[in-house]
Amino acid sequence: MNTLTLVDLEKYAKTMAGSGPDWVRVSMDTGGIAAGADTVCTIFEKGAGTLGFPFEVRRVGSLGYSFADPLVEIAREGMPRVIYGRVDDEVAGHILQDHLVGRRLLDDHILAWRNRALAFDGPITYILVKDTSAEKGDKSQFFQFSLAEELKRCNLQDKVQVVRAMDMGVYDEGVAVQFLPSRVTYTNVLAPDVARIVKTSVQGNQVIDDLLYKKPDRQVRIVMRNCGKFDPENLQDSLRYGVYQGLARVLSSMKPEDVIAELKTSGLRGRGGAGFPTWLKWQITRAVERTPKFIICNGDEGDPGAYMDRSVLEGDPHSVLEGLIIAAYAIGATRGYFYIRAEYPLAVSRVEKAIADAHQAGLLGGNILGSGFSFDAKVRLGAGAFVCGEETALIASIEGKRGSPSPRPPYPSERGLFGQPTAINNVETLAAVPAILVRGGPWYAQYGVEKSHGTKVFAVTGKVRFPQLVEVPLGVTLREIVFDLCGGVFGDKDIKAVQTGGPSGGMIPEHLLDTKISYESLQELGSIMGSGGMIVMDQDDSMVEVSRFYLRFCVDESCGKCAPCRIGGYQMLQILNRVARGRGEKGDIERLRAISKAMQKASLCGLGQTAPNPVLSALRYFEPEFKAYLEGGVSYARKMNANRPAEPVAVEPANA
């Protein structure tokens, strides 16, 4: 690719990606590939030639619906666009034959659109049906049948196909239907409604107000704006979707101070967990007079169950790079590093390719886009130590030293990488930056609540029906995320708590799930926002065991430098271990609290300071469970452990 100019960038952004109207996008992130997206892609590529019309297969990033991997999105001329989930080799074959050639949608694999409409914009060609209330006694088939019968009665069977969907994006709303292509959605549909749906909506193209599902989608995709839309390894595609437009605006018309001011208006705060205002970090680093300065993208995502950063790096590396270049411009850095953990090989290779392509296109290197601003970036691999996500340890790791934190001050903004002023921003933070600069700070600030603006990506996992990535404006409630977006707890169990913030976070009990999520509110509850992991626990989960799990993680990941974390975590784990075996001792709860306090206050870095949080929050909300273990002794612990996988028991040989 030749060196780009600002005019080229504008031209690219005005051309549409792809050539023809018929294409398939296969989500090729780590999760998709693990689920088999690679072979699915090959099947589409092989089948494309047999279709008789031009058909393009695109490898794209993930849409985030992890529960339905491998995901594909299909466009066929004259048909509404559809997302299929859990596409295996067989389903892929059916899509080729039935969908692309036969123009009929497949049952049980479609994910209904969440950006629902409130009115029809044309004739209905497909109706998606799904019983959103019950996993057993599913009424989907019945409604599919009765809708089809009704259509047949009205002689519409050739015009409208009724399809069973896999997921409606609404939950516990009875039977739901979505009309394609308009994406109008009805919920709580009862058998008597079938006739009027066909009459009023299919034939009359009128919305039935009492059935209409009016709640807007709680998701707002800013960070994930491009994930799943185009080939992340293709710079031209990225350009066509507007990547680097933020950079173009910055370099053509903004001073570094203006960039910082725009960020200040946006209210963007660090998405790595601590929530430090991004503009302030940049301003402080900018104000330090020594050069050279460095900018680092922290991609050392390590919380159990969290994979937001990986998805963004894999799905839209150019936007993160764009954010990094903008940050560099704002603080006056000449070199940047992506610090990505080596366990993310796909993210690493995509970012490396993005850097190489950007370099070739003149988006990196000397005199970027003719602006006179020069900047270069490199990838450094993390060896998998959790503590290396802490910024001073991360810096030590890049410098080739043992990854252990050092005291702050001096802060990295003053004395960071190789002793130079350095700003470190999380992947998600940097991914949001270009969007803010294209659409403006006020636009971004409209989302969220007081002090916590914009959107946050959460990885919702655990005992949840539809584990996935969701991006929501701050201020939504935990309940909305868990129930409205992810379908609630699976099975017929009750939710007990949601764990946020990973091993540094805490348990938030059911009765507090209506809390609006913000940095401050979660902290008040004894948890933290963290990087965005969200693990759902049901009634079967023992809080002693859960807190033990998280603590063990931190004990394993402690670098060992400071005594409170190194020994405190270890001794707390010893205490929890004996409590969980029913061999707890008098004073153990007090001991846990005392050690926690010492760790929180006297540990050197965030890992040790927050490691007791899961235990403390469990004690705060579920102390009776701990007491039950203490009072119930070994027999109680055995009973509690009965439904857990048995540990191997040494069996004495018969003739011993």
């Binding site: 005291p407 430098k561 409170p564 001794q571």
Partner: protein, 600 residues
């Protein structure tokens, strides 16, 4: 070449460091220069914040967490050791909350530490023990879990007991940053973290040069010198042995610290008396053989510099850690090394040849003990075959200043009230130049005094060379002798050596004249006065005081030039002939071998 190295304890220079900052500590107003830490500021108002990992001689490692304080308006509790004061800070250092947290942290440290205080090498000098006593910890609230790891006794100089390590990181800092040896590093992580040679090899297999700085800075009994006091007792109680003893220059100005006296107090006379009362049949002084070393080394320098026989620069070799380091890392300078043995070994060989011959004692019965400020001297005893020049091991045993203090305490001698004694005349008299061997720059100064005489036949009018004194990491000077300029360099603390040698290397590579003619290196910061075997608690200020003790000693001597030492003259006349004679070479010189085992 610019002398860039600074002592490890010096804070990074900052232009703002002069601006005063006003703060309050426990309500007391304090004004300190910007860049001062909370810990230092508190000392201005007589407040001691407890610390365990912080060593005043080293940069803070921020490991222990005991020195946390409360700062009004800050939710976090910053560490006093590494947090600089900021204008208007309102600090509380001893609130109830802080004391509770500190106690818990201390309990945590104790919970992974063996309770073998009574049999520990640091019993009574342990910083952890002192804190546990101060905090009145009487119960084991947290279960003790000590992971058994066998100690590393592979190295005859120092012993590592991993179980006693509190991972403060001082030894790693001193080994890597002050000494540039990298024998010790952090291994593993979390609760399994330990300080050990990288790759989990033994200390003997590691690049360790036995300088003992790790042991000197260790707050607990995790790294201690190999205590050999029982062997000395055994020898003293063995009637078949004729035990004699020598004391090194730096011991006399530091041993008082082990008895509560201020650093730099010169206790030479009391030491002579004490050693005699311990049962040594003769008390010699290493200062005597330091004078002898100067005769050989200065002559060697004249050979090379004036007569152009041999390579320049000449590099001093009295320090066994330095020779070990050179053989492992800087072996391209072997030909530049003075072949003169160290004073310890010179005295040893004379004590087993000249002395018994003179007194008619069977040399096989001679037992030579030496008391040194140094752990590496234990290693030097068997360094090469030349250390057996007398036909026996020239020095039987070398003990540190700390072991000597222990020996004196064991013997029931009321050390501080002893009358002053005298050394035995035959190998005991010395000049002020010999005394200077114990401090950085001292060997150079002593050598220059004699070299001047050897070249000009005249003595210097002013014998002091101020430019080679002081604690700056690298010191350089030019000395004019008979119209010729001698360029000298002095380095101490092994991390300061490289820049000096690199200057010589680059001149050598370019085919230029060496930029330096004479180099003195001592491995430990400050020289032997800051040696790894000296009493604990060394800092720049302590080194300065110990050095001052030696400089005063030099001034107080009637003779201050090695070539004027009457006993040295007599040894040459009676026995050795002259400097660099065949006999002198046989007994007083050694060889070096390249041992390029460690690539860096």
């Amino acid at each position: 070449m610019v002398a860039t190295a600074t002592p490890a304890s010096a804070p990074p220079a900052s232009p703002a460091a002069t601006k005063p900052v006003n703060i309050r500590i426990n309500g007391l107003p304090v004004t300190v220069p910007a860049g001062t830490t909370i810990l230092e500021a508190a000392r201005h108002v007589q407040i001691k914040i407890p610390t365990l990992c912080k060593d005043d001689d080293l940069l803070p490692t921020a490991a222990c967490g005991l020195c946390i304080v409360e700062v009004a308006g800050q939710p976090r509790m910053p560490r006093a050791c590494c947090t600089p004061v900021v204008e208007g800070m309102n600090i509380a250092t001893h609130t109830g909350a802080l004391t509770d947290i500190r106690r818990t942290v201390l309990e945590l440290l104790l919970s992974t530490h063996p309770s073998s205080c009574l049999t520990c090498g640091r019993n009574g000098t342990c910083e952890l023990q002192a804190l546990a006593a101060d905090f009145g910890i009487r119960t084991e609230n947290i279960k003790r879990i000590v992971t058994p790891i066998p100690p590393d006794t592979s190295n005859g100089s120092i012993i590592i007991d991993f179980t006693k390590c509190i991972k403060c990181g001082r030894c790693v800092q001193v080994c890597q940053e002050v000494q540039n040896v990298w024998a010790l590093s952090f291994l593993d992580r979390g609760i399994n973290t330990r300080m050990a040679p990288a790759g989990d090899i033994t200390l003997a297999e590691s690049p360790c040069v036995k300088c003992g700085q790790c042991a000197n800075h260790c707050p607990t009994g995790a790294i201690v010198e190999n205590d050999e006091t029982p062997a000395v007792w055994a020898a003293l109680h063995d009637d078949a042995k004729h035990c004699v003893v020598q004391i090194a220059p730096a011991v006399r100005v530091a041993i008082g610290e082990a008895f509560g006296l201020p650093p730099g107090t010169n206790l030479t006379g009391k030491l002579y008396t004490a050693l005699r009362r311990l049962g040594f049949k003769a008390v010699f002084d290493t200062n005597f053989s330091a004078d002898l070393t100067i005769m050989e080394e200065a002559s060697e320098f004249i050979e090379r510099f004036v007569h152009k026989r041999g390579q320049l620069p000449l590099i001093t070799s009295c320090c066994p850690s330095w020779t070990d380091f050179m053989e492992k890392v800087h072996y391209d300078f072997i030909d530049n090394f003075s072949t003169a043995k160290s004073p310890q070994q010179m005295l040893g060989v004379l004590a087993k040849t000249y002395y018994p011959k003179k007194l008619g004692i069977d040399p096989a019965k001679m037992y030579v003990a030496s008391f040194m400020p140094c752990t590496a001297k234990k290693y030097e005893l068997e360094r090469t075959n030349e250390m057996y020049a007398s036909g026996y091991i020239d020095v039987d045993i070398a003990l540190t200043t700390r072991e000597l203090a222990r020996l004196i305490k064991q013997s029931g001698i009321d050390f501080l009230n002893l009358p002053d004694g005298q050394a035995d005349s035959i190998l005991g008299d010395y000049t002020g130049a010999g005394a200077l061997f114990g401090v950085t720059g001292g060997v150079m100064e002593a050598a220059l005094r004699t070299a001047y005489f050897l070249v000009t036949g005249k003595n210097l009018e002013k014998v002091e060379f101020e430019s080679v004194r002081g604690l700056q990491g690298v010191k350089q000077a030019e000395v004019a002798i008979n119209g010729t300029t001698i360029r000298v360099a002095v380095a101490h603390g092994l991390s300061n050596v490289e820049s000096v040698l690199d200057a010589v290397r680059s001149a050598r590579a370019a085919g230029r004249e060496p930029p330096i003619h004479f180099i003195e290196v001592m491995a430990c910061p400050g020289g032997c006065i800051g040696g790894g075997g000296q009493p604990y608690g060394v800092t720049g200020a302590v080194r300065t005081k110990r050095a001052a003790g030696l400089y005063q000693h030099d001034r107080d001597r009637s003779l201050r030039l090695s070539h004027e030492n009457p006993e040295v003259k007599r040894v040459y006349d009676d026995f050795l002939g002259q400097p660099l004679s065949h006999k002198a070479h046989e007994l007083l010189h050694t060889r070096y071998t390249a041992r390029p085992l460690y690539k860096r």
